[in-house]
């Protein structure tokens, strides 16, 4: 990898200089090793990114646009026109929808009767599902088969575990990868987390799922692991064909860890 990007005429391009992006480990294949990949997903990955890089380079060389070293565009008019048009669109959409499809106004709530199904809003299903982790609550022989805490206490503490895990992730990984393929492990951790959010949400509404409850409970924890493993294998094989100095111009202001 050279430090300076040179054109055919020997003139330095403005996006030259070191990439600032380093491969995460010594096992990353070299350029020639990557080119030697002739089949499979790694070859496909190499061809995909190489084609897009080449298209970008061709466009750039055909263009008479002179790239300057600027940190950003001016607020007025560039950013303001873009922001105002986006804002106008969404405000107009809200006015249009509220005028054409006014929301349903239901009958007043009856405090003397309990509905058959009580659920939180859908985006809190994951937390509601954590309250149904009773089978994971161990009963201790030392207590004569009793549980250390009630199932509901256990479910509430599980919320702390999940929130704590999410809070710790930014300290373990700084997020310097620009694409999932650059850090397969953390990308697969993310895939597993997203799938777990979905499965634990399904567990929250287990009464409505036409499936055996025990099977559903097992799948809740197995599917995230399966999805994470599959994505790790896919990304790991893609990584062999990936070029780490892609798109460096867009990420020069954000050096890696």
């Amino acid at each position: 990898m050279t430090d300076e990007q040179q054109t055919d005429s020997g003139e330095a391009q403005t996006d030259g200089g070191g990439t600032g992006i380093v491969p995460p480990d010594d096992e990353t294949p070299t350029w020639s090793e990557r080119k030697a990949r002739t089949q499979g997903l790694s070859r496909l990955t190499y061809e995909y990114f190489e084609r897009s890089r080449r298209e970008d380079q061709d466009l750039r060389q055909e263009s008479s646009y002179v790239e300057r070293d600027v940190l950003a565009f001016p607020t007025w008019p560039h950013e303001m026109i873009r922001n105002l048009s986006l804002t106008s669109f969404f405000v107009g959409m809200i006015i249009f929808l509220s005028a054409t499809l006014p929301p349903h106004l239901g009958p007043p709530a009856d405090p003397s009767s309990t509905p058959a199904i009580i659920l939180p809003d859908w985006y809190l299903y994951w937390s509601f599902g954590l309250l149904k982790l009773g089978p994971l609550n161990p009963d201790l022989a030392i207590l004569g088969g009793d549980k250390l805490m009630a199932d509901r206490t256990y479910g509430v503490l599980a919320n702390g575990v999940i929130v704590g895990a999410i809070a710790v992730v930014p300290f373990l990984n700084k997020g310097s990868a620009r694409r999932p393929v650059e850090q397969p492990f953390w990308a697969s951790v993310g895939v597993g987390g997203v799938v777990f959010a979905l499965t634990i949400s399904v567990l929250a509404v287990q009464n409505l799922v036409p499936m055996d409850t025990n099977l559903l409970f097992d799948l809740t924890f197995l599917l995230p692991i399966v999805a994470g493993t599959i994505s790790y294998a896919l990304l790991k094989s893609m990584q062999e064909g990936y070029m780490y100095d892609l798109n460096r111009r867009y990420y020069r202001l954000r050096p890696p860890k």
């Binding site: 054409t100 499809l101 349903h104 239901g106």
Partner: protein, 82 residues
């Protein structure tokens, strides 16, 4: 290819939006019963019948338009390049 995608997306969102509004006006049986896909009411006036015709037309315009721009035209271009 990106242009074709944007055209298909525009058809999907634009046609779908107007279809959703017309369906909300005419074929919405209730909040807790069938929504948008309810029975077409009888005894509609001229405007109502025109809206139902427009609703059906938009439905198929959305489906066929998206298929054309996302599937048929790219496939045709691939065939022609091959």
């Amino acid at each position: 290819m990106a242009d074709e995608f944007a055209k298909g997306l525009g058809i999907l969102t634009g046609g779908g939006l107007v279809w959703m509004v017309l369906s909300g006006w005419y074929t919405n049986e209730g909040f807790e019963s069938t929504q948008l896909f309810g029975e077409i009411p009888s005894g509609l006036g001229t405007y109502g019948q025109a809206a139902i015709v427009l609703r059906d037309a938009l439905f198929w315009f959305t489906i066929i338009g998206v298929l054309v721009f996302w599937v048929v035209i790219p496939a045709f271009q691939q065939l022609r390049e091959a």
